[in-house]
């Protein structure tokens, strides 16, 4: 009896060993790759007006689909701005059930699902889906700390359930609990909705209720109507800034004023190459009403949009933040490899308070790229701001891309 059990055990071990070996071989066999690895490296240098010394930044990003069901992605940077430092922005492994019934992400990534406020974590996120439109998501981990900082004992966990009906409506409910040194810093209950009941109408809404400091933390509604060349979006939002802070912060107990905003954005394709965008909103900040409005127009200089000119006029009228601004941008290819870009902004504050009557800012850039994926760009930036009467900076970038961007 014992020898039979031992033989069975050895068979199982052999099978398991063969399975692992097959898996490992499959993973490294070159023809198993669905797509080539995609890499991009950027090295940037600029001068800072404070010290007039050059500072640098190197960014590496890569992505590889090892199998149709397995891919990995990373984005890391290192720089001297203001001190020599670096960070890992993304380092994630994504495993996917081949037919889409489930997903698993592990590593460092941003969790943003349903009404959950986006948060970057070191952890895992799993989603299970059914063909009848239900899905269940669970995530957990430790909130990411910038610059490899030390971590106090904190973690978060949460999840979302959702149901789609006939690919027209999706409704979801979410929950998040975050702890900071053992204390509850956020406990959020959320609901979300997306609907496209008609080909020309899109609706979306989400809202989060904070349980730690009972009250609405964040609510947003958007309705968009498309009719020919015009798209009109009506929107409204309410945010309670104090409830967006961890409840362990002293500033979360002040009993804040909700910040409210409601308005409309209209996009009009006035001509095949000319877009006009108009947006206006009424605000309620603190106990004061205000308004925010802008008009923006972009003219593409060719059918592919490689060259363009744009203009924007923006005006904000909120207590303590009244200003009017004008922006001009232009980009023009010079031959096949070169591109010339320029940008100009002039902001006139209504209440300068000794910070200067106008804040101009301008940039002139030239870039070159070739078919091998090399790109070199340089720019000169000049400005006058509340901080500095004048400043001139130089920027340079060298990039190399392998595979698709």
């Amino acid at each position: 009896m014992l020898s039979k059990a031992k033989a069975t055990c050895q068979r199982r071990k052999r099978r398991a060993g063969a399975f692992v070996a097959a898996l490992a071989l499959g993973a490294v066999t070159p023809e198993a790759r669905a797509d080539p690895i995609r890499l991009r490296a950027d090295a940037i240098a600029d001068t800072q007006s404070e010290t007039m010394s050059p500072t640098g930044l190197v960014v590496l990003q890569g992505q590889d689909r090892v199998r149709p069901w397995l891919d990995a992605e990373g984005l890391v940077w290192a720089g001297a701005k203001p001190d020599t430092t670096g960070d890992v922005l993304v380092l994630a492994l994504h495993v996917r059930e081949p037919h889409g019934y489930g997903d698993l992400r592990v590593g460092r990534f941003v969790v943003a699902t349903g009404a959950v406020f986006p948060v970057q974590i070191d952890g895992a996120d799993a989603v299970a889906r059914t063909p009848w439109g239900s899905s269940l998501e669970a995530f957990g981990g430790a909130p990411a700390v910038p610059r490899f900082g030390s971590r106090s004992y904190d973690w978060l966990a949460g999840g979302r359930v959702s149901q789609s009906v006939a690919s027209v409506v999706t409704v979801g409910a979410s929950y998040l609990q975050r702890r900071d040194v053992g204390d509850v810093s956020n406990e959020e209950l959320g609901a979300d909705l997306a609907a496209a009941p008609l080909a020309w109408l899109d609706l979306a809404a989400k809202g989060a209720y904070e349980l730690a400091s009972p009250g609405l933390a964040d609510a947003r509604v958007s309705a968009a109507v498309r009719t020919g060349a015009v798209r009109t979006e009506l929107f409204a939002s309410e945010q309670s800034p104090g409830r967006l802070l961890p409840a362990t912060s002293l500033f979360s107990v002040l009993g804040d004023f909700p910040s409210e905003r409601a308005g409309a954005t209209i996009r009009w394709r006035a001509a095949p190459r000319l877009d006009v965008l108009l947006s206006g909103a009424g605000l309620w900040v603190g106990d004061q009403p205000g308004a925010d409005g802008w008009i923006r127009s972009t003219l593409r200089l060719d059918d592919r949009g490689e060259g363009s000119v744009g203009v924007e006029v923006h005006s904000v009228d909120v207590t303590g933040a009244r200003w009017t601004g004008l922006r001009l941008v232009s980009a023009r290819p010079l031959g096949r490899s070169f591109r010339l870009s320029s940008e100009l902004e002039l902001v006139v504050p209504d209440e300068p308070n000794g910070r200067g009557a106008a804040w101009p800012w301008g940039l002139m850039a030239c870039s070159w790229r070739n078919r091998l994926g090399w790109e070199i760009a340089g720019a000169v930036e000049a400005a006058s701001s509340p901080e500095y009467r004048y400043e001139v900076n130089a920027l340079a970038r060298v990039s190399r891309t392998l595979g698709s961007p």
Partner: protein
Amino acid sequence: MKAWRALALVAPLLLAACAGLLGIRPSDASHPFEHRAHVLKGISCLACHRGISSAGESGPLHLPTDADCRGCHAKPHDERPCSGCHGASYVRGAAELAKEHLRFDHGQHMAAVDGDCVRCHTAVGEARPEALRPKMATCFGCHQHRDQWTLRDCDGCHVDLAAEDTPPESHLVHDGDWIREHGVRAGSERDLCSSCHTERSCAACHGVGTVPALPSKLTFDDVKLYGLHRAGFRARHAEEARADPGLCTTCHSENTCVDCHTASHVSPEGTRRSPHPPGWVTAGAGGGPHGQQARIDPASCAGCHGGAGERLCVGCHRVGGPGGNPHGPGFRSAKNKATDVPCRLCHTGTP
């Protein structure tokens, strides 16, 4: 009245002059191919698109050659290549992109539609079709892809959506003020977003410690009108933050402000300059404008005063202290004021 007449005369002239620039008049000489005329003559699609009925996922596009045209048009009106004028370049471009990015086998579909190409390519009957490539909804007309749509299983047709980098034509168009709008749209459809966008699309803005790697910082030569931090944002960032309390917290951690302010010596610790106006904190009732502003955007206070600043507040606002009760009207909390952080800092004086 004269001015109106002059305007009525000048406006059409100006529009005509700018028609090419605005894209109203096509810049190249080509025009959509006369599919409709050929269809009405009863010419089979296969007469020109030879071999398409057995075409697989790869291989040539099976567009007609000059020789195919001259098979019927024995005496062409021009010696130049026919496709130079007959057939819009963007239609050919779309066909090339489709061949590259989609898994589609014409051979398998011909039998299913009884050789009736128009069943999918419905636009060939139009005088000036925008595109001849069938829209995704046409595929869904026959194929019950509802499961794949629900499960976000796009790989059956799309080779690699992320690499395709083609904005959808008929759905999910990122239009209008998308930076503001994307949050509410992505709430319910996060996995739909991830069918094209990678992790770094979210992390570039929503990750902690992202500032040096912001896309607009990296691609300073790619000038755009949209974007939260374009142009001279640093000069007006205080105004922007005041106009939309809580917006900064959407992406930035509480340390972002203090990191930058300390580096540029605009902080109480730096002692060179203070971001607060004179009279920010005063003795007596009200205590100056700092209380009102703290309620409008407590997140911006926490941006610099998250650590030592909390103790700074406690100095005046402790129970029995000169600062009085900092809680606003209607304040509620589920916390225990004797034991939980931050209540105990003021109520019991325990750090």
